[in-house]
Amino acid sequence: MRIAVQTAAFDLGDEANAFAAGLDGAGAVVTFTGVVRDLPGGGLQAMEIEHYPGMTEKAITEIATQAATRWALGDVLVIHRHGRLALGEMIMMVATAASHRKDAFEAAEYLMDYLKSRAPFWKREITAEGADWVAAKDADEDALERW
């Protein structure tokens, strides 16, 4: 299990290859990558992500450990950036490996659902008009109920 909370950019390809190379016997690898996308009407200049140092690593470790308890996983990777990110930059990624595709998919979705609503990150959208904190969506809180 590797968990990284960082300001630096990461390379999806390098991370995916390193993750897959380290596997022993896992038949299925799932990755999810979150990318800064524009606002529906356009105009996003940057995304700023604030976090709670210390609690962030602790919360992500707990979420990943929980996933490894619920599913038979070969390995788990979570990378999450904070700081200022430009349009199109990668915000975060998770990777899961398992013998069976269902486990790898479900664990990746579980990680994403919990990272969205239970890891202490707060996103702010920067436009020419100013900066707006992103509001949490009811749908993201509801997503936790399936687990």
Partner: protein
Amino acid sequence: MEVLYFAWVRERIGLPRETVETDAATVADLVEELRAREDRYAAAFADLSALRVALDQDLSDFDAPLAGVREVAFFPPMTGG
């Protein structure tokens, strides 16, 4: 006790963290004390349903006891991922 603020809670209060001397028994008691201080605190804590609290870096509740707690953090619902 260290009290931390994040995102718009931090902006409204104007501080990322501060040391607070308190005998508050619960988080809700601490919130009452902070609200009574100044308008900026009252504004930040106006609607507790829009806030979350962590005690020593674990998510908790507003009716949780503060005995033994060293670090309290207030922030809006998280928007990671």
